[in-house]
């Protein structure tokens, strides 16, 4: 049995690691998890992205979620935000398969997956 202070130390260490990754990450991948997104398949899109990140040992990205982005007819939506420039690419109507392609081509290769770009700014 671990003491409370042990648990706190474990948590702090993990949080520090997560923060460090966030700091150094080149890309932030944001999944739109509003009702509209979820109904359209956002959970399996996120699972595909997490799987690809783990499988390919991608270290330059963090994955977060957000609510409805206001373009419900385009769901599932995923945004790829470049940390240094703030350039945000929003992908719409994506599948798990396209999500994997976004990780490989865009996040790892720096090439936007033009077939599913909804906006780019």
């Amino acid at each position: 049995m671990k003491s409370l202070s042990d648990l706190r130390a474990i948590k702090d260490k993990a949080k520090k690691e997560m923060a460090a990754r966030e700091q150094s990450a080149k890309f932030r991948i944001v999944i739109a998890m509003g009702t509209c997104g979820i109904a359209a398949g956002a959970r399996s899109v996120m699972s595909a992205i997490l799987d690809e990140i783990n499988k390919r040992n991608v270290t330059q990205a963090v994955v977060t979620q957000t609510g409805c982005l206001g373009f419900c007819d385009q769901e599932p939506l995923v945004q790829v935000v470049q940390s240094d420039t703030g350039i945000t690419t929003t992908y719409g109507k994506i599948s798990a398969e396209i999500a994997r392609k976004i990780v490989v081509d865009h996040v790892m290769g720096g090439q936007v997956v033009s077939s599913h770009v909804f906006s780019h700014e």
Binding site: K13, K15, M18, T35, C36, I38, D51, N54, C68
Partner: protein, 185 residues
């Protein structure tokens, strides 16, 4: 009305509301009883909370409009799903204190969507909102287990790895426990 194919998608939806409401702690309890013919989903958060008027608004599908969707169609959908299975949606909330939401379903209702992939829902939530301390408990007639964000913290410390490497092991851990307690979903 559209419906979610899995109750765990409703859960993903309502916990996302909690995250949006700036909760730092979310507790999800699922009670599954064949003997009691009940499936109960309870989500408690310490987020912003709502007034009575806001609760009435978020559960009314006709008042919510596109431009004002702070909380969209999610709760009316859940309410309708529960009502169609002989259950109900109850919301208790206090501004500044948080919100507790409970949805009940007759376990054997033919209208009821299956619980579905609760492991993916829980793990995606923890990964997607790492700032939130998330606790998930699940009870059946055969036993119970709990899982929470500390599972990730502990293994990250132990194995010196990122949270992303733990997605699959975490899902497996949950799935094994579900089998152990005889969850039907």
């Amino acid at each position: 009305m559209t419906r979610m194919r899995e109750l765990s998608l409703h859960i993903l939806d309502i916990v996302t509301n909690s995250v949006e409401a700036e909760a730092s702690r979310v507790i999800l309890w699922i009670d599954e009883s064949i003997a009691g013919n009940l499936l109960r989903i309870r989500v408690r958060d310490n987020g912003r909370g709502m007034t009575r008027a806001m609760i009435d608004r978020v559960t009314d599908p006709f008042v919510t409009t596109r431009t004002t969707r702070a909380v969209g169609m999610g709760l009316p959908l859940l309410q309708q799903a529960a009502a169609s299975c002989g259950g109900r949606l109850e919301i208790e909330s206090q501004p500044g204190r948080g919100t507790t939401l409970q949805a009940t379903f007759a376990h054997n209702s033919l209208n009821r969507s299956p619980l579905g992939d609760i492991a993916a829902t829980v793990v995606n939530l923890i990964i997607g909102a790492p700032e939130v301390h998330f606790v998930y408990g699940h009870r059946t007639d055969g036993g119970y287990f709990t899982f929470d964000s500390y599972w990730f913290y502990a293994r990250m410390a132990e194995r010196d790895c990122s949270q992303y490497m733990l997605v699959e092991p975490a899902q497996q851990w949950i799935q094994e426990k579900l089998v152990l307690i005889g969850s039907i979903g």
